[in-house]
């Protein structure tokens, strides 16, 4: 069954980070390598497979803004660090957890945000912006109404005030703009095809020093019945 319908039947208001990324990944949107674990032993084993350093995050559909609650531990380089971080993460919240998410650490520092929302007049709206925790402070965001083509997606990128960050920037290579365009178009397509999705955040979409883009965090908000 479609994960969106399942989640709605379970009474969820949103998909967890893990579920959100699985769903977005199925549309070809690049996401972090990650696994859900239920114990610290398992966390250590998975960390070794993914490769250090890793991030640990408490995972639950009810946990929408993890960094605000401290349920997130970044840059863990050893099995010991993973073990103690696991304990801290699950103690920080009293919510029922789907598990703890062990995921690869992405290198920044460039971060953008890609999102989707619905407007009563225009329908499916896709957003691109300067990302990370400062997104709502800087408000360097641009919108388009889906569907749109790659030329329009490229125009969104060109409209950003922080556009220059996506070129060669402080020793880092230009961002993979083709993939960013593809992600923007996919966001619109997802929104058009799946009316039960109300909003999507991919924040941040990290840009590596070599220019590759990957979703470090994602959230899908569902329409309430």
């Amino acid at each position: 069954m479609n994960p969106i319908n399942t989640a709605i039947q379970n009474g969820q208001a949103a998909l967890s980070e893990y579920q959100s990324k699985k769903y977005l990944g199925s549309f070809g949107i690049p996401v972090t390598r990650e696994e859900i674990v239920q114990s610290s032993d398992e966390a250590i084993r998975v960390s070794a497979t993914i490769g250090f350093p890793v991030a640990l995050k408490a995972c639950s559909p009810e946990l929408m803004h993890k960094s605000e609650t401290g349920c997130i531990e970044l840059g863990l380089t050893t099995p010991e660090a993973v073990q103690s971080a696991y304990k801290r993460v699950i103690e920080k919240t009293s919510l029922p957890l789907e598990g703890v998410l062990v995921q690869e650490m992405l290198q920044g520092p460039r971060e953008i945000v890609v999102g989707f929302t619905r407007d009563p007049q225009f329908g499916a709206c896709v957003m691109l912006g300067y990302g990370g925790v400062m997104a709502e402070i800087l408000k360097d965001t641009v919108f388009r109404i889906a569907p749109f083509d790659k030329i329009e997606a490229m125009d969104m990128i060109d409209e950003l005030k922080s556009r220059a960050m996506l070129d060669t920037f402080r020793g880092q290579q230009p961002a993979d703009l083709d993939t960013i365009c593809r992600i923007l178009m996919s966001m619109g397509q997802i929104g058009i095809q799946q009316p039960l999705i109300k909003e999507i955040d991919i924040n941040p979409l990290m840009i590596s020093p070599t220019g590759q883009v990957k979703a470090a965090d994602a959230l899908i908000i569902l329409e309430r019945k």
């Binding site: 929408m64 999102g115 929302t117 957003m127 919108f143 109404i145 959230l219």
Partner: protein, 497 residues
Amino acid sequence: MVVSLSESPLYPIANPKSIAFFGASNNFSSMGTSILRSIISNGFIGKLYPIHPQEKTVLNLTAYPQVLDIPEPADMAFIVLPTKIVAQTLAACGEKGIRNAVIVSAGFNEVGGEGVERQAELLEIANRYGIRFTGPNCIGVVNSHARLNATFLPFEGKPGFIGMASQSGSFITQMFSYLNQRFGKSFSTGFSLGNEADIDLVDCIEYLGACPNTKVIALYIESIRRGQKLIETARNVSKHKPIVAFYVGGSETGKRACLSHTGSLAGPDRLYDGVFRQSGIIRAQSIEEMFDFCYALGSSPLPKGNRVIIQTHSGGPGAAAADACGRSGLELPALSTETLEKIAPYVPHTASVNNPVDLTFTKNPLDFFHRIPKILLEEEASDGMLIYFLASERMVRQALTGMGLPEDAVQDQTAQIVDSQCQSVASLMETFKKPILGFSFMTRDNHFVAGLQDRGIPVLPSPERAARAFGAMVRYTRFREKILQSETESAGHFSAE
């Protein structure tokens, strides 16, 4: 998309051969009378049928007790009646065979409650008879090329090229004198939309897009009802005709409870920015700017790029223009050696031949209008010019008097010289197909300003406004290229499949 203009429901409204007019009387202070008087005094050439229950004549026109009595089904009904009798009047028009209407009367959706029901009733009647209408709660329509002014203020000026659709009631009619007195310009056609119960902004964009007298479209927007359709229509129109919009961000549709960053960032203002850019619509930040942009876009050839040469003979305005260019995304290229060599004989030693080209004074004052701009237009590093105009008729007159000409010859020759200089600048723009935007702190009282404007050189009231208008032309060029490129590519995909 309308294939031809006459297919649009707005065609009979903007080009009626006959009007059934409801709500005019011999009471000079009523809104209806005032609008009918505008129609008459503007020299409307079609038939006018005032309908009045008691009067035998209204403003010296034969009046009819009811619409069924008029000799033909008029092209348009114009209704300025008390709210309660609008619906029955519209139905009577339907019975008579009238299929288009402008409903000025208020008291519908905008007042809520019963008003909403009354508006639904209007729509139901319109659907029953196949009537298309603007309003209710609008101010009318103007078509300067058909001598139609169905608004309450007198029309000023010559037939113009700005097509306008406005969601603000009487905004259109208030702009008659502004456009005429500042720029010597006017609307080609203007629609006031009111509540948009039937005909809306999208219909107007389609109509004005096809209207041959309209070179540029101005939109005053408070809210958009058919979002997707607007984008589709505007993209189609903006390929061949610029659209400029002023949006007043009143509607806070984006301010719903949002759990995501995206939702909370999607305020209407940012959203409309994206919608306009996607549609190829240039967004203006003020009413003044909207008309500056329309004026420039409707007058000049489009710039190929964003490189501008500023010509001035005063440092301050030139520097202000240079500064504003930077903030409008324009570049000031350095002049090539070739250009510098060509220009040298015409400029005094005190002049700074950089960009801005500040001439302080010219050896021959008239070089400012021909030889110098010609050389600067030939410069390949530039896509257009901003020129500061400060010359006055008095300077020409003094020079002629100084040459010992008799008084009446001075008068004649002054007028001729001013005229030929203005014509010279206009011819340069025509020849080089590069935009020239003038700016001056003088108004149309100055014959150079009026002369340039009347020959098609836009002259704006400040360096900043001229620079921003140039920036808007560059933006339009880019939006248009983007849309055309997108079409070419999608056509390519189809043929490949």
